[in-house]
Amino acid sequence: MGLKIDLDLCTGCGACVAVCPFCALAQRADGKVEVNEACTACGACLDSCPVGALSLETESKPLAMGALDGYRGLWVFAEQRGGKIHEVSFELLGVGRVLADRLGVELCAVLLGHQAGDCAGPLFEHGADKVYQVDHPALENYTAEPYAEALSALIRKYKPEVVLAGATSLGRGFIPRVAVQVNAGLTADCTELDVEADSRLLIQTRPAFGGNIMACIVCPDHRPQMATVRPKVFKPAEPVAGRTGTRVVENLPLKEPGVKVLETVNAMQNEVNVAGAEFIVTGGRGLGAPENFKLMAELADALGGAAVGASRAAVDAGWISSFHQVGQTGKTVRPKIYIACGVSGQIQHLVGMNSSDTIIAINKDPDAPIFGVADVGIVGDLFQVVPELIKALRG
């Protein structure tokens, strides 16, 4: 079991040695490749072999014929806190609709809570054919154990083929427990989903290694096929006003939660710290006036909670506190996306942000040095481009 190297095929080119993230491959004296204990059978090397000498050997388990056939239906876990459905649930209903149609099954939502008001309505409007609802005091505040217990019980009873949940801190907190309880595979934080029509397999694509590689993952022998899905990747389903469906109210005997919520502090901070932020929207002198940082905040919000950064020129002008400054004298940042608006890109600014994964610059001067480091440069007036960008992000 594990990685197999066909030594007859191996030409000793060494291509696979360089790609192994775990240093598990090495060339022998004769140039052919061997694998050591560091191998995690991740499969990263398979495609690197030009002659197809590498394969993953798995013990083929006799498939209980038909055992998987009892599972039907695509479920979406509808995340709800304080009676408000999380946006990601509508996104899941959006992609779920497409997949469910391809599989020819119902699209269902699961709603857990206690006296949370009528949350099922919006789920129907966004495409759910059926909503499974559990109302129980143990589910009043989210804690992982009763949530997992409830969802597992529903899965055991109704046997869905696919279960999707948002890869939010709530979803990622309890879905892994469900996977253990129902003996299912779980793919984390997916950014792409597809189904293979004849095998009915859910093809789940997700980034790993800090986004450096993408993996396609399937669960051939277990049901349901479970995945958490990264928020904001899929477009939310278009609501159809007045659309309804079947409501299944389930009474479950749940255990008293072991974790007690003493206090919930909603600190929706507008001031996300730029250091360590995944997304940063930075304004420079081109903003022209302090109040225009509102535009930056709006863009940050449209990105789903980005931090707002600033050039020193903007800080020195007193438009924003030095807490936000990026660069030589400010913070050094390495976000996934850095959007510089009205920043010229002097070296003192660049040293603080030029290792960002993706840099986007908006500046009206086509010769601005910021374009030298930008992956995408937009030459234009930020007061025209940014509002359009916000619109496009929200749309």
Partner: protein, 262 residues
């Protein structure tokens, strides 16, 4: 008190680069480190040990023989005991099988009051092992913890959400996954490092922890990696000009979506 910290050896993914020509991972020069979040989990344990004398900290890792390096690092910082779960039978485990194996190993240790995990491993990036182990052990698990206080046999824990945080109370034993914000991990002491150099760690096998072979490794893992590929390569910078702002904005958003950046 007995605290078990689960730690994973990972490649330092912040050093990983993609070769733009072959579009494959360039691993050269990438060091193996203790998963950064696990450093925070260990630090949380060591701080509890300072505050509650008599506390024992055991660090557990499942991995190849060279994963012993992170156990040595842990001893250098002040861990009391270590366990290296190492067996070919574990190779290729997904989070389901990893969680099972770790839970069996923990079952062999003195009964823990607290089991700590990092929020997630920076290579696999799933954040599933912590809650998974807790489930096998039948313990509550609080994910994304940034603060803990122990009073008697109860713990007061602060956990972060996307938009705020919660104060929670839980009876011990329990499991936590720990965030970066929780603390600043200490560095190993000189004496600790010296002790660690001498440390001999015999691998603990699947059989020694009484693990069911049918629940281990690649063949027991429900998930299968079908294919690994590099994300679409970064286009060398492009400059758009002279078009309608709305057109350029929409194209940008489409591009970001396509690259899975948002």
């Amino acid at each position: 008190m007995h605290i078990v910290v689960c730690a994973k050896q990972v490649p330092n993914t912040t050093q990983v680069r993609i070769n733009p020509e072959t579009n494959t991972l360039v691993r050269e020069g990438v060091e193996s480190i203790m998963n950064p979040f696990d450093e925070n989990a260990l630090e949380m344990a060591l701080q509890l040990k300072e505050r509650h004398p008599g506390t024992q900290v055991t660090v557990l890792t499942m991995g190849p023989p060279q994963a012993v390096d992170i156990l040595k690092e842990a001893v250098g910082r002040g861990a009391d005991e270590v366990m290296l779960l190492c067996d070919k039978a574990f190779a290729g485990s997904d989070t389901w099988a990893t969680s099972y194996a770790l839970s069996m190993a923990i079952g062999k240790l003195p009964k823990p009051d607290l089991v700590l995990f990092g929020k997630q491993a920076i290579d696999g990036d799933t954040a599933q092992v912590g809650p998974g182990v807790a489930d096998w052990l039948g313990m509550p698990c609080i994910t994304c913890a940034c603060k803990i206080e122990i009073a008697g046999n109860r713990a007061l824990v602060e956990r972060a959400f996307e938009d705020g945080y919660e104060k929670l109370e839980v009876a011990l034993p329990c499991a936590l996954t720990v965030l970066k914000e929780a603390n600043v991990p200490r560095m190993a002491s000189l004496r600790g490092k010296m002790a660690a150099k001498k440390l001999q760690v015999a691998p603990t096998t699947a059989e020694m922890v009484g693990a069911d072979p049918a629940k281990l490794g690649l063949s027991a893992s429900p998930t299968r990696v079908m294919k690994i590929f590099s994300p679409p390569p970064k286009t060398g910078g492009v400059l758009w000009q002279g078009e309608e702002p709305a057109v350029m904005a929409q194209r940008l958003v489409d591009l970001l979506r396509e690259r899975k950046l948002i």
